[in-house]
Each structure stands twice: as structure tokens, then as C-alpha cells.
Symmetry: C2
Subunit: 404 residues, 2 copies
Amino acid sequence: MQTLWDYRYAQRTQRMKGSAIRELLKFSERKDIISFAGGMPAPEIFPIGEFREACDKALREHGADCLQYGSTDGYLPLREMIAHQSTRYGINVTAENILPTSGSQQALDLIGRIFINPGDRILVESPTYLGAIQAWNAYGAEFIPVPFDQDGMDTKKLEDSLRAGIKFIYVLPNFQNPTGVTLSYERRLHLIELADNYGVPIIEDDPYGQLRYEGEHLPAVVVLDSQTRSQETCYSGNVIYLSTFSKTLAPGIRLAWVIAPTEVIQKLILAKQGADLHTSTFNQISTYEVAKGGFLNEHVKLIRKVYRERRDVMLDTLEEHMPPCIKWTHPKGGLFLWATLPTNLDAKVIFNEALEKNVAFVPGAAFFAEGGGHNTMRLNFSNAKPEMINEGIGILAKVIKNHV
Amino acid sequence: MQTLWDYRYAQRTQRMKGSAIRELLKFSERKDIISFAGGMPAPEIFPIGEFREACDKALREHGADCLQYGSTDGYLPLREMIAHQSTRYGINVTAENILPTSGSQQALDLIGRIFINPGDRILVESPTYLGAIQAWNAYGAEFIPVPFDQDGMDTKKLEDSLRAGIKFIYVLPNFQNPTGVTLSYERRLHLIELADNYGVPIIEDDPYGQLRYEGEHLPAVVVLDSQTRSQETCYSGNVIYLSTFSKTLAPGIRLAWVIAPTEVIQKLILAKQGADLHTSTFNQISTYEVAKGGFLNEHVKLIRKVYRERRDVMLDTLEEHMPPCIKWTHPKGGLFLWATLPTNLDAKVIFNEALEKNVAFVPGAAFFAEGGGHNTMRLNFSNAKPEMINEGIGILAKVIKNHV
């Protein structure tokens, strides 16, 4: 249908691209598909009973507050709980440093909105999280990719890019989406040192930090940055830290948070007023009721147990079935691993053939801000049950073997 | 605290202003205040019991779907219900024309994102809804105000502005926020005729349309526009229509919708992917459970009864207490009325003095996109109980009498 709107789109609308992942989620909804595509948690262990109780309690005890307009800055007990939890991990902040957002995607959008002028250069891992590219594309960002290996962003190759005039560095240090790779301790220190030398601030995106299945917890970049600056390790403010309840409780509730200097929080609040007024009061109160009193920590232990098993099944089945020319990462946590095909193979060809046999994954090219990665694939291991992982990887291996 | 972020804000951040209303909501939260400030529904009649049942049912029957990631385009049964309701009011659309958003504020933001280039001119009523100004300021819009009287936007004065190259017209035809004024039937037709002559599309924002307390329902602009174009009155697509559950069920749930041509809906979905991935699945499913099967229509009757009484009390008390030099509108629906002081009086002065006596309202200047209105005030009558309205208006009248 032709309408008067057809010729009225803004320039930025031309830059908007659909997320390959969102498109693929449609396949994931088909019951006959074994999906390694989305980044979806295991539905079997959602705390449904706890949410039922919490919603009922929230509406019984705070009914009108749940349903009324709330303030943009968010529900104070929730912010205090997040501050308290963060302090346990060495991020010494108060509720004034915390803004609840409608998922981490909104945090990325609001950050883009207050910081990015068209043409601004953002330093990103290559590959990096697709949602960040999508959010910041709308503000006209340019992405400067930094090479990446099994220890994360290669900080030795960072310095040249830092001289190019960078607005900020975007890093996912723990079990990165899409690769599952963790930034090593030494590189975290090196990253902080270089960022400090060049006066460039950092966005640390950490949705999976609590989902570690082996090895020692590494301090967050925001913690190390603060430690290098003061003996009291008070929050330095040069690293903005993002996390979420999507992977530890439930993504459907759309609740995440930003940790930032109070001045930045105030600007983010202004931006959020214009974007959606505030995040649902009901969701904030009921999620607080679910998370408080130790449940969140207990539940994360269950998630770790379930996802560790699924990761192990996927690693074992890959080892068993894949031809030797296929390589993959061995993530120590998170939701994803990353496989690399021989360079003469296109992951999209494999994708189409696998889909015919009812197996889905995400071709890796989408995660490269500036192109490349045609022979890579992201495999999610959190969503499918072990027997399905076993079957799905078997099918995938057969499809690949036809080509190598 | 000084941080590396201080000098890194985008140009658009300079244009972001806090909403006077959001600031005033802080006063509204004080229990000792009689507030005519926010646009808050009456909490006494929130359907808390219905939400308790619906949330429980949603989690019991769709638990994992409520808590899992959902598609950006929204929960299909909800979209079908909205399409069905819209068709009853003459807006002949299907679920493909509907996008659920995280409140109408997000709808305004997404519209700005896909349509507004910096410097684009938007034609607005003067005064107009503050949230639209706030949302579109972020995209660099310029606002062309059209004079306004007791019949709404003065369409006789529209033509000159339409020649100035307008991206779209923004209109709130029913019980407008902030004035409570309704666009007359004749002017609706005139608006459509002129917009068609100049090929300029319209955004119709209609949060209060169902809350009419007297007089006959007037067809929406979108309906009249479609009628003038086809005998079958199928949706013409030149008017994008916004509405919300915030005023008929509960604002804390953050659920509203856009009706637009499918091509525009597809662009809005792309923009929403980058903004917040999707609106909470849980809120969509539970709101659908509350609204379906006729409850929404019954509940709206209760709201009309309660708000009509409050409006009448406010009109009566104004009549009784205010000096004759004060004028105010007589809204036939909605949540607000609009008072005008003598031009030598500043509503901000009255605001400060009234606040000392624990009465709050919104000084009207905030609603003028391009300045003016220093002697106007917006009075909300939905939130305070009748006896409080009586007392509050009495206090306000005393404060004003000291100045006239």
C-alpha cells in the first residue's frame, strides 16, 4: 500500500538493519526445530513458581504502586539491592549510580543516544555483540574492530586504533557473545592501562559474568580500573558497566541495569524520559521480590549446573562428530560457543542445508561490524536439552561433512 | 565527580530537557500534597484483583512464554484484540497494522527515530503534549505551533504553515493534554482536507478517546480520513494512530500501541529491535488476559463515572472560589482542564506559593513548544479524590486572590 509516509523516512532509517538473530528467532519458535540460534535461556528452569508468588505479593502489598506511573530513576529497593550485590563483586557504588532499564538493549540505546554523534568511532571486539551494533548504527556510529583471539580482544593491537580518536571502547569480557571467549586477566590490565593513557572511557557489557562453569572468577574491568586509581577502590567512573536479569532470572521481564557516574545516570534518565518514561513499576517490584533474600544466588547455582552440562554435551558431541578441519572455542561460561569452518565454506550455505534438516544456528558474519566472518557460526548451548544437542550437532556434522 | 565521560556527550544531549511534569511527580509522591500535577489515574479503581488473577493465569498457563524472549512485533492475540476493538470504532485494520510499544512514549520515540531528520518541521497544537516535544527534540525536530482555541487546533490558520514544508502534523483530537479541549467535527474534516491538499501525513495521539463524560463520540481523524478516500472505508494509511492501556487499565504496566500502514510497522519494528528488543512478554500476555472478554469495556464505564464526578467537583469548586479574571476550559472528557490567569501573573509564582500550602499543579509554559503560556496552568482532576479537589482548589484560589 502506497502512503504519504513512504518518502518521509529519516536518513538514519536507511542504516537500520534487521537483526539476523531476531529473524532466526522465528525458526526457534517452531517446535520441530533443534535451535542453537537465539541466546535463549533454558525455559525448563525459569523460576515460574517464584514469579507467581512474587507477582501476587507485589499486587497484594503494593497494588496501586505496581500499576501507577513511577519515576524514571527506578524502584529504590531494587537499585539498593543491585548496589549491594555489585559491592560484593568489588564495584563500590550506591543506588545513585544505578539506572534500571528495559533490558540491556535499552541501556545500549540510551548510551548511544547521550554519547554518539554521527561519525563517532567506537572501538569494538571483532566479532562483537550484534545488539550493540544495531543500537549504535541508529546514531551514526562507525565501528573500529580490534582483532580477537582465544584470550579476547588483542590489546597489543589496540594502541593504533586508540590514536584514531575513539569515543569509547565497548568490551564484553566474560564468555563473550558471540564467541564465548573470556578476556584474560593480563589483557584486562593492559586494556585499562591503554585506555587511561589515551583518556578513552570503556563500556563493559557483562550479562553472563555470573554464569561461570570452570576456572576462577576474574575481576570485572570496572573493578580493576577502580583499583588502579585508588587504594579505597571507590568507583572511578571511567567504566560504565551493564548487566541484566535476563540470563539469571528471565528475559521476558525486560529488566537490566546500568552502573555509571551519577552525572551520566542523570543524562541517561533524561534520555529515558523521552524514550519510554520509565520501566514497568510492576516488573521492577516483582523482580525485586523474586531476587531478594538470596534466591537469585541459589538460582544461579542451578543455572550453572544445567548450562555446564549442556556445554559439556555440545563440546563432547562436536569432538565426536565434526571433521578435523572444524575448530571451535571452549567457553568457560556463558551461553555460546563459536565454530570456524574452512575458509572456502560459507556458513550461510550450511545454515540453509541444516535448516532443511530442522537444525538452526546463527551464521557468524552478522557479528562483524565491518564485514568478514563468512565461515564462522555461533552455537547456543543453553536452550536445547542435552539429548537434542546431541542429535542436532550430529545432524550439523553430517551437513558439514558433505562439504569438506 | 569528574570522569572521562564529561566531555563526550553527543550534541543532541544538549537539547534534552527534563520534563517539568516528571520533576513534579516527585511532589505528587508526597502524601501531604494535594496534587493536580501529574496525569495519573485514580489508584482507587485500578483493577488490582483482575491483574492478580491474570498474572497468575498467565504464569500458570504460559509460564515459560511469559518469561522467555519474545518477538519484537508483539503478542499476536493482543494485537488481534486491539485490531478487533479498533474495527468497532471504524478503524478497519488487522494485527499486521498494530505494534505494541512500551507505553505511548516509546511510540512517539520510535516515530521520531524513523521519520525525523534534524531540522524537520513538525506541526503541533499550541499548547501540545510535552512528551512528544521531549521525544522529538532528541531527533532535532523543529516545532511549528498552530493557534488553538476552545474547538482545538485552528485549522483556518493551518494553511500558511503547511506551505512551509512539514514532515507531519501531530494532533490530540480528544480531551487534549494539556487543555482538555476537543477538536470539533468540522475542524477534523478541514484538517483532513488541508493535509490531503498538501500531501502531509498526520499522527493522531488518542490516549483519552474512550473517557468521554458528555456529548456524542466524534469519529477519530483516522476514521474520517479513510471515509473520505474510499466507500469501503478501509484504512487509508495516511494517519498513524496511537493509543494506550495506561488510562483505561494501568500505566505501570507500560503497554500502548501504534496503528500504521504495514510498511511503517516494519520500520518501527526495526527501530524497536535496536531500542529495547521487545515489550515484556509477561506484560503483554497478562494485560491481554485482563482486557479480553469484555472486562476492559466494563472497566472504562467505571472510570468514566469516577472521573466525571471529579471533573464536575473541580468545575464547581473553580466556579465557587476563583476570582472572575480567571478562565478555564470545560473538558468533555479526559484527565485535565486548563486555566488562564491574567497576563500580568506568572503561573510559576502561583505554583511556588501553592506548593508551600501543599497544593501542586503544572505551570502551562512547559507545553508550548516555542515559548509562551507563562500565565497558564494545567489541572489534573483524575488523581485526587473529590474532597481533596474541593480543598485543593480552595487553597489555590486563595493564593491567586492574593495577586489579583
